[in-house]
């Protein structure tokens, strides 16, 4: 079908068409970029943590009285937790992973204050059951032995008391020792405090889910007494519900004079920490949906208006021999032309918008595949929107041509 007459007719009465084409352009630009951001956030939330999220339970314990949580109290807690049926392993630490709160540390190969190769990472303290309690995968070396676990009085002790063993994530090992020989090497956090890497875990994400260094974590065998604790308990598959219910009563049975709160799985901790990302994704999806709906309405409105304004013309065409399908095709082609014009402008706008987002907010650059995908989506919905009016147009009787009104 020759589109030139349709094109030239469109060009001569173009206001409505230009308006719709502009709508489509802006919609394409927004939808492409928004979809990309959504995908980025979903990918971010989808990253494996390195832990057995679904089966790991965490709980916070805050003592009411000073010195209530000394080493023997902690040991009693751990005994009680490990005694719960269905518990695979239990360990003690300061703050749960992935909770957007925790300790950042710095280590390097020299420990010198201005070592340019020092890296920033999340610092975890666990006992000998930490590996199993978190469900991590050890890929080199070993985890801590019970005799290596030191009892500290507060966080400052980490500087004073020598805790020589260290387990790091693969990411950390790769950064510090790209040759792959990290195991057995010594690293420093302060000039005279050397620690030996005795083990490497495949993956263990840090405390802060939105930081770029999330894969950089280190583990040290230590327990800080006389302060608040967090216990990490891994349940055997299928026993999660039972374990979840038993944790608080078990701890209160050991000592009721404390606050036991936030009994939840690591998966729930994660979900909460990613709350803003999820909210952003949902909001963007809502805006995308509304935008496409409004644009579809625009296309529909324009086509319906064109049909109503051209009744005489349509009747004349039918009188001159157009079939019903010719009339439908005419309007579908017209709407396709408008959509394509809008799509071309929209592609340019999408790139411009992406550039602005990259420069202003340091978001990643738009993956160009989103643009043709967006164009296809808009083509489809616009044609669907135009189909109704096109069908109605084809039903206009040819006899209209001879009416004098």
């Amino acid at each position: 079908m020759d589109i030139r007459p349709i094109l030239s007719a469109l060009a001569r009465s173009r206001t409505g068409a230009v308006l719709v084409a502009l709508q489509i352009a802006i919609t394409l630009a927004v939808v492409c970029n928004a979809a990309f951001i959504v995908q980025q956030r979903l990918a971010k939330m989808d990253r494996p943590s390195g832990y057995d999220d679904g089966n790991v339970v965490t709980v916070q314990v805050i003592p009411l009285e000073q010195a209530a949580n000394d080493r023997s109290a902690i040991a009693a807690d751990l005994r009680a937790l490990r005694a719960i049926s269905g518990v695979e392993a239990a360990s003690v630490t300061q703050q749960e992973p992935l909770s957007n709160s925790g300790i950042n540390w710095g280590i390097s190969k020299t420990g010198a204050p201005n070592d340019p190769d020092s890296i920033n990472l999340s610092a975890y303290l666990f006992d000998e059951q930490g590996l199993d309690a978190l469900g991590m995968k050890l890929i080199a070396g070993r985890w801590f032995r019970p005799e290596e676990v030191q009892i500290l009085d507060d966080l400052d002790d980490l500087v004073r008391v020598h805790v020589p063993s260290l387990v790091v994530t693969q990411a950390v090992a790769d950064i510090l020792f790209p040759e792959g020989d990290a195991l057995g090497q010594t690293v420093y956090d302060f000039p005279d405090n050397g620690m030996q890497i005795i083990g490497i875990v495949e993956r263990a994400q840090g405390y802060f889910v939105s930081r770029p260094n999330i894969e950089n974590s280190m583990f040290r065998p230590a327990v800080i007494q006389n302060t608040r604790q967090a216990y990490v308990i891994r349940s055997k598959p299928g026993d999660l519900d039972a374990v979840l219910h038993e944790v608080e009563p078990a701890l209160l049975a050991v000592n009721p004079r404390r606050l036991v709160r936030h009994v939840r799985t690591l998966a729930e901790v994660r979900e909460e920490s990613y709350g803003n990302d999820r909210a952003m994704a949902i909001t963007l999806l809502a805006v995308m949906g509304l935008l496409i709906a409004v644009t579809v309405l625009g296309v529909f409105g324009l086509m319906a208006f064109n049909v109503s304004r051209r009744r005489k013309q349509i009747g004349t065409r039918r009188a001159l021999g157009a079939q019903r399908s010719d009339i439908v095709r005419y309007f579908l082609v017209e709407s396709w032309l408008i959509t394509t014009a809008g799509a071309v402008a929209g592609a340019v706008l999408a790139v411009a918008l992406s550039v602005w987002l990259v420069n202003t907010f340091e978001l990643p650059k738009l993956d160009w595949h989103y643009i043709p995908a967006g164009i296809v989506v808009l083509w489809v919905v616009a044609q669907l929107a135009a189909y109704g009016p096109a069908r109605r147009a084809s039903a206009i009787e040819p006899a209209i041509a001879t009416r004098s009104v």
Partner: protein
């Protein structure tokens, strides 16, 4: 060529039933120039619509080139309109957003003609109506008479079996009306059949044969002898 026999059409609404055509019959030979006349409400428009296959009818028969076209489906009717009928409307019915060339092209598109063929046909019919120089003009840039001539060119471009004209000079002043009428006469003298519907008796007299209608029925026929009329006109100019 065209044969309507006892065609009747009744319009029904909730309240009222109108008989627009009542046992209407008409025979048209190739090369005829017929005017169907009558006052408003006489059924002329209904006849026009039926003759041009724009509408169906309730009883009777309609044969075109020996083919019974009464009970055809919409697609077949559209095809026949496209190939056999050349419409000329009272208000020209040119598409305002298309230029002259594109307007004439419309029925040729539906015919499925190739581009080169179309260009040929359009050029020829524009020559016939004397508007070859205005090919790129828009209808709004033409006078009423010129627009009607373009409409005639459009009707002729596809070599129809007959022209069907609805008050072709109704919206034109007397000068332009005469031009258009002379054009139609010329076309007819070349062999094209013309069926014209009008309420102006003066206009009707220029045809060879008049069919008078009233209340949906044929009431009268009049034959005009052209040779006689020409002599009368010559006598009128020469004489006093």
């Amino acid at each position: 060529m065209l044969k309507m026999t006892s065609v009747s059409k009744i319009y029904r609404t909730d309240m009222v039933q109108t008989t627009a055509l009542r046992e209407f019959s008409l025979d048209v030979e190739e090369g005829d120039f017929i005017a169907v006349t009558g006052p408003s409400g006489s059924g002329k428009t209904t006849f026009l619509n039926i003759a041009g296959l724009l509408e169906g009818f309730d009883s009777g028969s309609y044969e075109l080139d020996g083919q019974d076209v009464s009970r055809l489906d919409d697609n077949a009717r559209s095809r026949i309109r496209n190939q056999k009928v050349g419409f000329i409307f009272q208000s020209f019915n040119l598409i305002p957003d298309l230029n002259v060339f594109e307007n004439i092209e419309v029925p040729l598109h539906y015919r499925g003609m190739r581009r080169v063929e179309r260009q040929q046909c359009i050029r020829e019919s524009l020559e016939l109506v004397g508007l070859a120089s205005r090919m790129k003009h828009l209808p709004s840039q033409l006078s009423g008479g010129q627009q009607q001539r373009v409409a005639i060119a459009r009707a002729l471009a596809g070599n129809p079996r007959f022209l069907l004209a609805d008050e072709p000079t109704g919206n034109l002043d007397s000068v332009m009306a005469r031009q258009v009428l002379e054009l139609l006469e010329g076309i007819n003298s070349q062999g094209t059949t013309i069926i014209m519907v009008t309420h102006e008796t003066e206009l009707a007299r220029r045809a060879h044969r008049n069919v008078h209608m009233l209340d949906g029925q044929v009431t009268d026929f009049t034959e005009f002898d052209h040779a006689l009329r020409l002599r009368e006109e010559q006598a009128a100019t020469v004489g006093g």
